[in-house]
C-alpha cells in the first residue's frame, strides 16, 4: 500500500485523530487497545496538549503531568498508534468507498528524530534567545531547543524563523542529528474515520483596553500563573513579571473574555472558576503570607467535588468578591488598582493588588475551518463543532465518519474531555466495524464524492 515518493507517501490506517492532547490521546489509546490502527496528527512539537503544561488539577489537586505523561508514553510506544508531531492537516477528501483521505504535512524540525538523544547539547550551544511560548513568554528559550522538559518525543527542534544560521548547534551535536536539509513531508492517510480533537484557543485579553490591553506588566493571564505554579516553572517561585517581586496581594479577575457579548463570546468557559480557585489554593501553598482575592460573577463549581473544593478555598481564606472588575489602572510601583462594584454591599470599591491574574476564557480552535474539504462541517454559533444528535449520539459531526472529542465541541474540563474521548472511541469502534455494510448504504449525499 505504501508508495513512497521523495517527500510524500500514502499510508493506510483505521482512524486519524487530529490533535494529540488529552482527548486525542485517550481516544487513541482506547481505539488502539481494541485493535485499531490509529494515527495522531499533532501540530505542536510534542503531544500532551494543554494538560501536560498544567500544574495540579481540580478538584483532586493531583498533578496534571502525572496523569498526562503515562498516557503520553503509553501512546508513543503503542504498536497500534502512529504519532506525527509538528504536522498539520491540509486537506480532507471523501472517496466513493467512504474513506477519508487526509493530507497532512510534517514541517521540518531540522533534527533527525532517530539520531537525537535529547541531550540538549545543541540548546546549550545555540546563542539566540527568543520568548519561550511553552512558558507563555515569561522567560526565554534558545532557537535550537527541546520544547519542554517532559515533551514527547523528547527531541530537539530548530525554530528556523528565528535562526541566524550560525551552525553552532550542528557543531555541538555528537550523533549528528541536526539536519538543515530537511524539507516538509507530505503524507496522505487513507482512513475510515477521523476524530477532531483539536482543542481550544485561549482568549487574548490584550483586546480588553480597560484591563490594560496587555500593557500592564503585572497583569498576567491564568496560563502564565499556571506555569509559575508548575514544578518546572520559569521563575522557580511565584514572582511578578514586572519586577520580580514576590506578590502578596493577588487578584483573580474572572470572566475575562467569557460571558461577554462585547468580545463576541457570550458563553461561559466552564473551567475558569475552578482553575482560579485551584490556583488560589496553590498560591497560598507556595506563598503562605499572600492574600488572594477572586472577583467573580457567579462561581460555577458544578462538577463532582467542585463545590466542596470551592468551600475548601473559602476555608483557606481565599476572599471571594461578587463583582466584575470595571477597570484596572497601573500605579507607579507596578501595583494595580482595581475598580469594581461590590455587589453584596452595592458600593463602588477600589482595591490595590500587586499582581492581577486574568482568568481568561477559552474559544473554539478555528484552525479546523482552514482545512480544505471541511467546508460542509457544521459549526455552532460559537464556532465549535456542532453535535448533530447531542442526546443520543453525542460527539458526532454532520459528516460521515467524522467525530469530535474534547473541547472541539465546546468548553469542558479535563474529566469531561476524557469522558468525551471515551464516548467517541465507542462510536468510532462501531463505525469502523460496521464500515463496509452501513456506510456504503448511507452514501446518499453525493457532494462529498467529488
Amino acid at each position: 500500500m505504501e508508495q513512497n515518493m521523495k517527500n510524500s507517501s500514502v499510508k493506510v490506517a483505521d482512524t486519524l485523530i487530529l490533535g494529540g492532547g488529552i482527548a486525542g490521546l485517550e481516544a487513541a489509546l482506547n481505539l488502539a487497545n481494541t485493535g485499531h490502527q490509529v494515527v495522531i496528527v499533532e501540530k505542536d512539537l510534542s503531544i500532551g496538549g494543554r494538560m501536560i503544561h498544567l500544574s495540579k488539577v481540580f478538584p483532586t489537586l493531583d498533578c496534571s503531568a502525572c496523569i498526562t505523561t503515562p498516557k503520553v508514553s503509553e501512546a508513543s510506544r503503542h504498536p497500534g498508534i502512529h504519532i506525527q508531531v509538528n504536522t498539520g492537516a491540509k486537506k480532507l477528501a471523501f472517496d466513493a468507498k467512504g474513506h477519508w483521505h487526509v493530507h497532512v504535512q510534517t514541517e521540518p524540525r531540522f533534527v533527525n528524530e532517530s539520531l537525537c538523544t535529547g541531550c540538549q547539547d545543541c540548546e546549550r550551544a545555540c546563542p539566540v534567545v527568543v520568548k519561550d511560548e511553552y512558558q507563555y513568554n515569561l522567560v526565554g528559550r534558545k532557537v535550537a531547543y527541546i520544547p519542554f522538559s517532559i515533551a514527547s518525543p523528547r527531541i530537539a527542534a530548530i525554530d528556523i524563523e528565528n535562526c541566524i544560521l550560525c551552525g553552532a548547534c550542528e557543531k555541538a551535536c555528537v550523533p549528528g542529528a541536526i539536519d538543515f536539509s530537511q524539507e516538509p513531508v507530505q503524507t496522505e492517510w487513507i482512513v475510515k474515520s477521523v476524530i477532531i480533537a483539536s482543542g481550544f484557543t485561549l482568549f487574548d485579553p490584550d483586546q480588553i483596553e480597560r484591563y490594560g490591553g496587555g500593557k500592564f506588566k503585572n497583569v498576567v493571564t491564568a496560563m502564565q500563573m499556571e506555569r509559575q505554579l508548575v514544578p518546572t516553572r520559569p521563575f522557580n517561585t511565584v514572582l511578578r513579571p514586572g519586577d520580580g517581586k514576590i506578590p502578596d496581594k493577588v487578584a483573580y479577575v474572572l470572566c475575562a473574555g467569557s460571558r461577554d457579548g462585547t468580545v463576541g463570546n457570550p458563553i461561559c468557559s466552564q473551567i475558569c472558576c475552578m482553575y482560579s480557585i485551584k490556583q488560589a489554593q496553590l498560591i497560598l501553598g507556595a506563598l503562605p503570607m499572600a492574600d488572594v482575592t477572586v472577583y467573580y460573577l457567579h462561581i460555577r463549581s458544578f462538577g463532582k467535588g467542585f463545590d466542596e473544593f470551592y468551600q475548601q478555598a473559602k476555608k483557606m481564606d481565599v476572599s471571594f468578591i461578587k463583582g466584575k472588575i470595571g477597570k484596572i489602572s497601573e500605579l507607579e510601583n507596578g501595583d494595580l488598582m482595581l475598580r469594581y462594584e461590590d455587589i453584596a454591599s452595592g458600593k463602588i470599591k477600589e482595591a490595590k493588588h500587586d499582581m492581577v491574574v486574568l482568568s481568561v476564557g477559552i474559544l473554539a480552535n478555528r484552525d479546523i475551518e482552514k482545512i480544505s474539504g471541511l467546508e460542509n462541517l457544521e459549526l455552532d454559533p460559537f464556532h465549535y463543532l456542532k453535535q448533530r444528535q447531542e442526546m443520543s449520539n453525542p460527539f458526532k459531526t454532520n459528516l460521515p465518519g467524522i467525530f469530535m472529542a474534547g473541547t472541539a465541541s465546546g468548553p469542558m474540563d479535563i474529566p469531561d474531555s476524557i469522558l468525551s474521548a471515551g464516548a467517541v472511541s465507542a462510536m468510532v469502534t462501531k463505525y469502523n466495524k460496521g464500515f463496509v455494510e452501513s456506510i456504503i448504504n448511507s452514501l446518499t449525499i453525493s457532494s462529498w464524492n467529488e
Binding site: T34, P175, F302, P411
Partner: protein, 649 residues
C-alpha cells in the same frame, strides 16, 4: 550475608551506553566496563556509542545468539525511554523480555552528578551491579490471560443504560439490560422537553427502545433486581429476581383501557410525581416499553375485575430467578430527585409549592392554558438549590443540571404558556458552557433573577391563593424584597437512588457524596476499584442527559477493550502466593484495594490466592505478610534484596 539466596548460573551480557558524550563525559564508561567484566555470571561487557541505535541493537542480538546469553543488562538512559526498545531486542534475540534489565545511568547518574564525575562513575557501577544481581534472579514471565465472557450485565435501563446496551450489542456483545422498574427509560422518560435541544425525554426513550427491540443480542428484564453475585472480571455470576407483570400477550389496547377503567384501586401515580392518580393496573405513556401494562401487586386486591375485560391478565404469574453470566457489570442506576422535607419552603404544606420534577410533568400533561389545581397560573417563582449545596444538610454538592433545567422550563412557560411573571430565587446561576445562552435568553425576555445569601434562604408563606416569598436580595444591596407568586417551584437536585441491597451485594465503592465512586476522575473515570464493575450516568454523580450518554459510551469503550477478545491479557507483574508458606491470616486481603485476594482451601488448610483478573501488581499486599508468602513477580523479595546487597558494597 550468607543467608542471601545464591543466584543461578546465568550467562549475562552487559552493555554500557556512552549516549554520545552524555554519559561518557561524566561516567568513566571504560573503567566501569572493565570492572563489570569481573562480576559473577557476566559473560561479556561492552561499551556502545548509542545502544539504542539500530546497529547496536543488531550487535546485541548477535551476542545473545552467539555467546549465547541468558540475560542482558543495558546501562543507558531512563527505562521510561527505552525499556520497551530493549525488551523487544531481547525478544528478537530469543530471550524472554523479562530477562532484560535496564539500568539508568544517564538521568540518575551522569546528568544528576555531572558536578562529580568520579562519584557518577562509582554510582553507575553500583547501579549496574544491582542490575546484574536482579537479572541473575529474574524469571521469564509471560503475559497472563484469563477467559472473559463477552457479555455485559447492565443494571438500570435509563438513557445511559439503554444507550450503552445498543452500542455494546452492535459491537457484538451479549447484553442483559435489567431494570428494577417495570418500564424502561428511567428518569428521562419522565422529563418532557429537554435543555437545550427541546427534544422530549419520551421521544428519546422511544427511539432508544425501538433500537433495543431491533437487536437480538439484548435481553431486557424489567421489574428485576440483583439478589446475588459471585466471580470477578470476565466471569461474574449474577442472580436476578424478576417480578412478574401479571399481564402477558395478547392484551389488546381496548381491553386494557377498559380493565384500567374498571380497576377499583386508585393510588398516586409516581410517574407523574403524584400529580395524577393511577389504578393498580397501569401504564406510563403510550410509547412505554415494554408495551405492556403492569399490575402493581403491592396495591392490587386480586379482585379479578380487570381479567373480565383484558385477556392477557394472569394473576398466577410467579416470580422468577434468572442466572446471568457476564464478563462485566455496568452500573447505570441513575438518581432520585431530592424529596424536600415537609415544610421546606412550604413543600407539603402550601398547596401551590411543587418540585421541578412535578413542574416538568405538569408541562408535559398540559395543553392550552397553564393551570394548577384548577387555577390559571400567571406568575411562577423558582427557588434554586433545594437539596443541593446545603449549608446544614448532607448534600454539599452542586447538582449540576438544575439551573439550566429550571431556566429551560421557565422559557417553556413563557413561550408556550405565556406565563409572563417568572422569578428565579437563586444562589448564583450555574448555566455553564453554552447553556449560558438560555440564561441570557430568559433574563432578556423579562424573567427576574434574585439571589439570596447562602445561609439566608428565602421564606415562603401562604397569601390567600398565592404564595408570598421574601428574600434578602444580594443584587439589591441585600434589600428585603417581597413578591407574590401563583406557583412556587422548588428546583430540586439529585440524590443517589437507594440501592442498599445492590451496593452490598456488588460491594460498590461509594463516595462522600453517597454517589458511586470512580477510581480516578481523570485516569479511570468510569471504572471502580472492583475490576469489571463500571459506572456511568447519574449514579456516579449529577449530570445532564447528554453528559450521561457520553459517560455511558465512554464506559462502553472501556468495557469493550476488556471483553471483546473473549480473554483478558494481564501484565505478568502480578502478586503470587506461595501456598506452602501461607498460613492464611487475611492481612493481604485487607491491604488489597482491588479485592484481588481470596481465601481458598488447600491441603494444609486455608491459604490466600490471587484473583489475577483483579490484581494490578501494586504490591501493597507484600509488606503486610507475616510469613513472606506473597510476592510480586518481577519485583520479588529475592530480586530486591539482591539489589540492595549488590549496591551496598
Amino acid at each position: 550475608m550468607s543467608k542471601e539466596p545464591e543466584s543461578k548460573e546465568k550467562r549475562i551480557g552487559v552493555y554500557i551506553c556512552r549516549c554520545g558524550s552524555n554519559i561518557a563525559d561524566y561516567v568513566d564508561v571504560e573503567k566501569v566496563c572493565t570492572e563489570i567484566k569481573n562480576e559473577k555470571n557476566v559473560r561479556l561487557s561492552r561499551v556502545m556509542m548509542f545502544a539504542c541505535a539500530d546497529s547496536s541493537q543488531k550487535d546485541i542480538i548477535a551476542d545473545i545468539r552467539n555467546e549465547p546469553l541468558d540475560a542482558i543488562v543495558v546501562a543507558s538512559c531512563s527505562p521510561k525511554l527505552h525499556l520497551h526498545t530493549f525488551r523487544a531486542v531481547a525478544e528478537r534475540g530469543g530471550l524472554n523480555p523479562f530477562n532484560y534489565v535496564q539500568v539508568n545511568i544517564r538521568e540518575q547518574s551522569s546528568w544528576a552528578h555531572s558536578d562529580h564525575p568520579d562519584q557518577a562513575t562509582e554510582k553507575a557501577l553500583d547501579l549496574i551491579k544491582a542490575g546484574i544481581a536482579r537479572v541473575s534472579l529474574s524469571e521469564p514471565l509471560n503475559p497472563i490471560t484469563i477467559p472473559a465472557e463477552n457479555s455485559v450485565l447492565i443494571l438500570g435501563a435509563g438513557v445511559a443504560g439503554m444507550r450503552s446496551a445498543i452500542e455494546l450489542a452492535d459491537l457484538g456483545s451479549q447484553v442483559y439490560l435489567v431494570d428494577r422498574e417495570f418500564f424502561v427509560g428511567g428518569r428521562v422518560a419522565q422529563w418532557g422537553k429537554m435543555a437545550t435541544t427541546d427534544q422530549t425525554g419520551e421521544e428519546l426513550v422511544k427511539s432508544l427502545y425501538q433500537q433495543i427491540r431491533n437487536r437480538r443480542n439484548i435481553k431486557v428484564y424489567t421489574g428485576a433486581h440483583v439478589i446475588s453475585s459471585k466471580g470477578s472480571i470476565g466471569n461474574f455470576d449474577v442472580q436476578i429476581k424478576v417480578i412478574p407483570r401479571y399481564v402477558e400477550p395478547p392484551c389488546d389496547p381496548e381491553g386494557f383501557s377498559k380493565a384500567m377503567e374498571a380497576c377499583p384501586v386508585t393510588v398516586d401515580d409516581e410517574f407523574n410525581f403524584g400529580l395524577t392518580k393511577r389504578k393498580a393496573i397501569f401504564h406510563n405513556f403510550r410509547s412505554e416499553f415494554p408495551a405492556f401494562p403492569v399490575i402493581d401487586m403491592a396495591v392490587c386486591t386480586r379482585c379479578g375485575i380487570c381479567a373480565r375485560y383484558c385477556q392477557g391478565i394472569n394473576l398466577d404469574q410467579k416470580e422468577e430467578i434468572v442466572q446471568i453470566h457476564a464478563g462485566t457489570i455496568f452500573l447505570a442506576t441513575g438518581f432520585n430527585p431530592y424529596e424536600p422535607r415537609k415544610g421546606e419552603f412550604g413543600y407539603g404544606q402550601l398547596p401551590n409549592v411543587i418540585s421541578l420534577q412535578q413542574l416538568k410533568r405538569l408541562l408535559e400533561l398540559t395543553t392550552g392554558e397553564f393551570r394548577f389545581r384548577d387555577k390559571k397560573i400567571g406568575s411562577v417563582a423558582f427557588i434554586y438549590c433545594v437539596g443541593s449545596r446545603q449549608m446544614d444538610g448532607d448534600n454539599k454538592y452542586c447538582s449540576r443540571y438544575c439551573c439550566t433545567s429550571a431556566i429551560h422550563a421557565a422559557l417553556q412557560l413563557r413561550q408556550e404558556f405565556h406565563v409572563s411573571n417568572i422569578y428565579h430565587l437563586n444562589k448564583g446561576i450555574r448555566t455553564y458552557g453554552k447553556q449560558e445562552i438560555l440564561y441570557e435568553q430568559s433574563s432578556r425576555a423579562g424573567d427576574i433573577y434574585l439571589q439570596f445569601i447562602e445561609d439566608e434562604p428565602p421564606v415562603v408563606e401562604a397569601n390567600g391563593e398565592k404564595a408570598r416569598l421574601t428574600i434578602n436580595d444580594i443584587l439589591s444591596d441585600k434589600h428585603e424584597i417581597s413578591l407574590l407568586a401563583d406557583l412556587v417551584v422548588l428546583v430540586t437536585g439529585m440524590v443517589p437512588r437507594e440501592n442498599n441491597d445492590l451496593n452490598r451485594i456488588l460491594k460498590v465503592p461509594i463516595g462522600k457524596d453517597k454517589f458511586y465512586n470512580e477510581i480516578h476522575p481523570k485516569l479511570r473515570p468510569v471504572e471502580t476499584v472492583i475490576d469489571g464493575l463500571v459506572i456511568s450516568g447519574c449514579c456516579q454523580g449529577p449530570r445532564n442527559i447528554h453528559e450521561s450518554v457520553g459517560s455511558a459510551l465512554a464506559e462502553v469503550a472501556k468495557v469493550y477493550n476488556v471483553i471483546n477478545k473473549g480473554e483478558i491479557q494481564l501484565e505478568p507483574t502480578l502478586a503470587v502466593v506461595d501456598p506452602a508458606v501461607c498460613e492464611w491470616c487475611g492481612k493481604c486481603a485487607e491491604a488489597c484495594p482491588f479485592d484481588a485476594i481470596e481465601k481458598v482451601q488447600a491441603e494444609k488448610g486455608w491459604v490466600a490466592q490471587v484473583i489475577e483478573g483483579n490484581c494490578k501488581g501494586c504490591g501493597m499486599c507484600t509488606p503486610v505478610c507475616p510469613t513472606n508468602a506473597i510476592d510480586i513477580k518481577g519485583y520479588s523479595n529475592r530480586e530486591i534484596r539482591s539489589m540492595i546487597v549488590a549496591m551496598s558494597a
